[in-house]
């Protein structure tokens, strides 16, 4: 199940029972193709630091992909490239066949830090995308709908500093979703939350995904989270950053976090990441 899948995973993701297209069919597209993308950053002294080298990845519409790997393996850079916040040095990225050159509302992005606009109340924060696209007037009701969707209907007049971390992150999710993106990019969205809020949010994300059938790509540090949520897990390794493995998660949904298959997959992924139980030779002395 794990390890055998090559980088260019052409086989469709294991669509398990829950992933059937339920949302509006017109919004079904959301297929991403990352084709031989490289990206490096220039340091102050002029040296080039490669962040990604020759990455290729196909994500079919409606799939949930997790990208996992140690810090510095370029997973956030990959996400920023897909969002259009960075430009690739080589290779190209396409969403439903169209080249990605700049940020666009069709590709929503949620960061680890909710980054709600502190000067706007929740209602205005969620309405931001509609206003930016000048379609707020005819879609006012959407704001309440999405606040309701994330369980914050009663907090529409609250300011971000009055919210807990989990609430703020759900609001950020609503703010991204209101644009009805075809692709939702999640950059460690639950990384700063406590364990219980985190598990609740994971279920919430699954529910939203089930309702709307949005393609989702999530960067995470957490192997359990990746296996619990995704159809496929992309394991990246640093130096030079590349995709080590794409693991299909053929587990029935809803998934049991402690199930036998789950644990077997977990240890397999950890092994790829070199946490396979053996103690490594220390690279430095404390």
């Amino acid at each position: 199940m794990v390890g055998g899948t090559p980088q260019r995973d052409a086989s469709p993701a294991a669509r398990t029972s829950s992933a059937s297209p339920a949302g509006p069919a017109a919004e079904a597209p959301g297929a991403l193709r990352v084709d031989r993308v490289s990206k490096s950053f220039r340091r102050h002294d002029g040296t080039e630091i490669p962040a990604l080298s020759d990455i290729s990845l196909d994500v079919e519409a409606g799939a949930f992909i997790s990208v996992i790997g140690p810090s510095g393996c370029g997973k956030s850079t990959l996400l920023r490239l897909i969002a259009g916040l960075e430009q690739a040095d080589a290779g190209e990225l396409r969403l439903d066949g169209r080249l990605i050159t700049a940020p666009h509302a069709e590709r929503g992005l949620v960061f680890q830090n909710p980054l709600l606009f502190p000067w706007l109340n929740l209602h205005a924060n969620v309405a931001f995308g509609l206003k930016a696209r000048k379609i707020y007037r005819e879609n006012k009701a959407e704001v309440e709908h999405f606040l309701h969707l994330v369980g914050l209907a009663d907090f529409d007049r609250a300011y971000p500093h009055q919210l807990s971390g989990g609430m703020a992150q759900r609001a950020a999710l609503a703010r991204a979703l209101i644009n009805r993106p075809r692709l939702l990019l999640l950059d460690e969205p639950l990384g700063a939350l406590d364990a219980f809020t985190r598990m609740n949010m994971q279920d919430e994300i699954l529910r939203i995904r089930q309702d709307r059938n949005i393609t989702m790509i999530m960067v995470t540090h957490d192997v359990d989270e990746a296996l619990y949520l995704s159809d496929r897990v992309v394991v990246m390794t640093p130096g030079p950053a590349k995709i080590e493995t794409v693991a299909s998660v053929n587990l029935a949904r809803p998934r049991a976090r402690g199930g036998e298959d789950f644990l077997r997959l977990r240890s397999a992924v950890l092994k790829i990441l070199n946490f396979g139980g053996q103690i490594k030779e220390p690279a430095y002395q404390i």
Partner: protein, 333 residues
């Protein structure tokens, strides 16, 4: 577990009595000030006034604080408010009391430079129409014309410099060179360059508001977390939308600091402009009265300045609290 009722009751009584006594301090201080005013004869060195204005003031204060102390007994919220300020009010009245004794009663200070409170109040009571309508009115026109044009220019320049590299390239050196020059240093040039002293004054005040507003606005924009712009661009915001809906609101706290600094320096510039060139206004009045050695009028003018500038600053604070309600718990200053 058993509470000693006598002990608790006593300490509570003491505490409550103490609290209520605090509320009577301003009233007592006012009454204390009335005593020397009525009992001691006025010094012959001080010119007499036609009415006992200081006595009126003390009576009004005593009546007001008597009513306030009574109200404090009845109403807990009112008491809390009065308690916090009671010592200050009492001390202020005590200060007036001492001032009155030292000047009007003993003439311990040169009467020409330190007129009695009675005289100052009589200037206010008799000339208030002229002071407010003519002097303060024309100062206000000058101040607001200068302030609003300066603030508007400052915000626009600040935004341009904050967002556009090209604007920063051309304007930043200008700000660095012209900004630190005290606006009043321009007076010799302004007197020649402008058709009337009024427009010269407007220019000087605008200049004094422009500099801090520009600097704070642009640094406010440069301090906005880039992530806010990134998020807004993934939400479909274009460049102008980002400037007006992200950059400006996010730098509002900085803009307000600039406006506060600008307001204070505009007051200075206003006064200087009126004392040097402009031929009316409250600053001009003070200077004119000083030359005539009518120090009572000088103090009356100063009181009017203090009250009106205090009101303006308070208004600006209220506006800030209203606009920056989101800031509570984010930044404090």
């Amino acid at each position: 577990m058993m509470r000693n009722p006598r002990c608790g009751g006593l300490s509570r009584l003491k505490r409550e009595y103490g609290q209520r006594a605090v509320c009577w301090w301003p009233f007592l201080s006012a009454v204390l000030a009335v005593v020397p005013e009525l009992l001691l004869p006025d010094s012959p060195d001080h010119p007499p006034v036609n009415r006992p204005y200081f006595f009126y003031l003390l009576t009004a204060a005593a009546a007001y604080f008597f009513a306030a102390a009574l109200a404090a007994h009845a109403h807990a919220g009112f008491r809390a408010r009065l308690e916090g300020k009671a010592y200050f009010y009492g001390a202020s009245l005590l200060f007036l009391n001492i001032l009155n004794v030292v000047t009007d009663k003993l003439a311990a200070l040169p009467p020409i430079f330190f007129p009695s409170p009675d005289r100052i109040l009589s200037v206010l009571a008799q000339d208030w129409r002229y002071l407010l309508a003519d002097c303060l009115g024309s100062s206000a026109v000058l101040l607001f014309s200068g302030f609003f044009s300066g603030a508007l220019c400052g915000i626009v320049t600040g935004i341009a410099v904050g967002f556009s590299k090209k604007a920063a390239y051309w304007v930043n050196p200008l700000i660095r060179i012209l900004g630190p020059i005290p606006p009043t240093a321009w007076i010799p040039i302004v007197l020649v360059a402008f058709p009337t002293t009024f427009w010269g004054g407007v220019f000087l005040i605008a200049l004094s508001v422009w500099f801090p507003t520009t600097v704070m606005t642009s640094s406010g924009i440069l301090n906005v977390q880039n992530a806010y712009f990134e998020v807004s661009s993934t939400l479909g915001a274009g460049r102008w939308f980002q400037i007006f809906r992200v950059g400006i609101p996010a730098s509002m706290p900085f803009i307000f600091i600039g406006l506060f600094t600008g307001t204070c320096s505009s007051f200075i510039t206003l006064m200087t402009a009126e004392m040097v060139g402009v031929k009316n206004g409250i600053g001009w009045y003070i200077n004119w009265q000083r030359e005539m050695l009518s120090y009572a009028n000088v103090y009356a003018g100063l009181i009017i300045i203090a009250v009106s500038f205090y009101s303006l600053i308070t208004l600006l604070f209220k506006l800030r609290d209203h606009l920056l309600v989101w800031q509570k718990g984010v930044i404090k200053w």
